[in-house]
């Protein structure tokens, strides 16, 4: 369907009016540029920087941790230094903590107050992460949320939900899927989904199509 609708009087109008919030943002942007506080180039650079950060960073870290136990130990002891080893810039994070999943313990991350998220490692959070629905139910019924993502934690597993309310950003280190011995680091990284690093699901067990 076209984004534009044809009116009877011969020309097209945008189908959606800008929201009040969007209008305000554009007005502030124009004022900041007009008054010389920032330039259009600054804005474009910042957009490029935001877009360049993606879950691929996290996947690279996790895959390395799976194949290299010494790196895994460093990743858990000093996550920011481990990021620097792989050329990932985590300096924007105040504090960065890695939560290691085991057969007996599964971690899940939420920010019930807003949308705190390890952006340098995972990029921008998905919309559902910021939704009231997830933010409420993640703490009240984490097992129910995990089931909706396709993982039903067995009774002998302890689920630990981290509410990142303050200066700490959390990343879940998911379990390495069974049957992946001998896989290359690049292929392993393809199993590490964004959602597995938020902790709502396991890493994939086979390469995505």
């Amino acid at each position: 369907m076209s984004d534009l609708t044809s009116d009877a009087h011969g020309h097209e109008h945008p189908k959606h009016e800008l929201s009040d919030h969007a209008k305000r943002i554009y007005a502030i942007r124009d004022l900041l540029i007009e008054k010389g506080v920032i330039t259009e180039k600054d804005i474009q650079c910042q957009i490029d920087y935001q877009e360049a950060r993606s879950p691929a960073n996290g996947a690279k870290l996790v895959a390395r941790a799976w194949v290299d136990p010494a790196f895994k130990a460093r990743f858990i002891a000093d996550p920011k230094a481990a990021c620097a080893e792989l050329g990932i810039d985590a300096t924007a994070l105040n504090e960065f903590v890695v939560l290691e999943n085991t057969e007996k313990v599964r971690h899940m991350v939420v920010c019930t107050l807003c949308s705190c998220y390890p952006r340098p490692i995972l990029g921008r959070p998905p919309d559902w992460y910021k939704s009231f629905n997830y933010r409420q139910r993640a703490v009240v019924d984490p097992r129910g949320v995990m089931r909706e993502f396709g993982f039903d934690p067995p009774d002998n597993v302890e689920v630990r939900v981290h509410d990142s309310t303050a200066d700490i950003r959390y990343l879940v280190l998911p379990l390495r899927p069974k049957g992946t011995q001998g896989w290359s680091e690049d292929d392993l990284a393809k199993l590490v989904t964004r959602d597995s690093m938020i902790g709502v699901m396991n890493a994939l067990s086979s390469l995505p199509e």
Partner: protein, 97 residues
């Protein structure tokens, strides 16, 4: 870490203060008045309740990772072995005997 001056250490039982005041409060409602234990001491950070209003965030506040049994927060319907863990600044904690 600032173990010498921190009021609490890992394993200490603590209660979250039940306070209601305006401001940039980083202590979620559902955890106020609940009892848990110190899981980890994260060290000192500028106080967000001050920073949010353009102040200097000083004095710094020690930040703790506090663990709660899900059943202590939500009642017996919660799965017994599950936990919820929340980052809480020291001035929101009181000792539990």
């Amino acid at each position: 870490m600032t173990a010498a001056v921190d009021k609490f250490k890992p394993g200490d039982r603590v209660k979250i203060k039940f306070e209601d005041r305006p401001g940039h409060i980083r202590t979620p409602w559902y955890i106020r008045g609940k009892t848990g234990w110190v899981e980890r001491v994260y060290g000192e950070f500028l106080n967000p309740e001050s920073l949010a209003f353009g102040h200097d965030g000083l004095p710094k506040k020690t930040l703790y990772l506090i663990a709660f049994n899900q059943s202590d927060v939500w009642g017996e319907s919660a799965t017994k072995q599950d936990k919820v863990l929340v980052d809480i600044y020291e001035h929101w904690l009181e000792p539990v005997a």
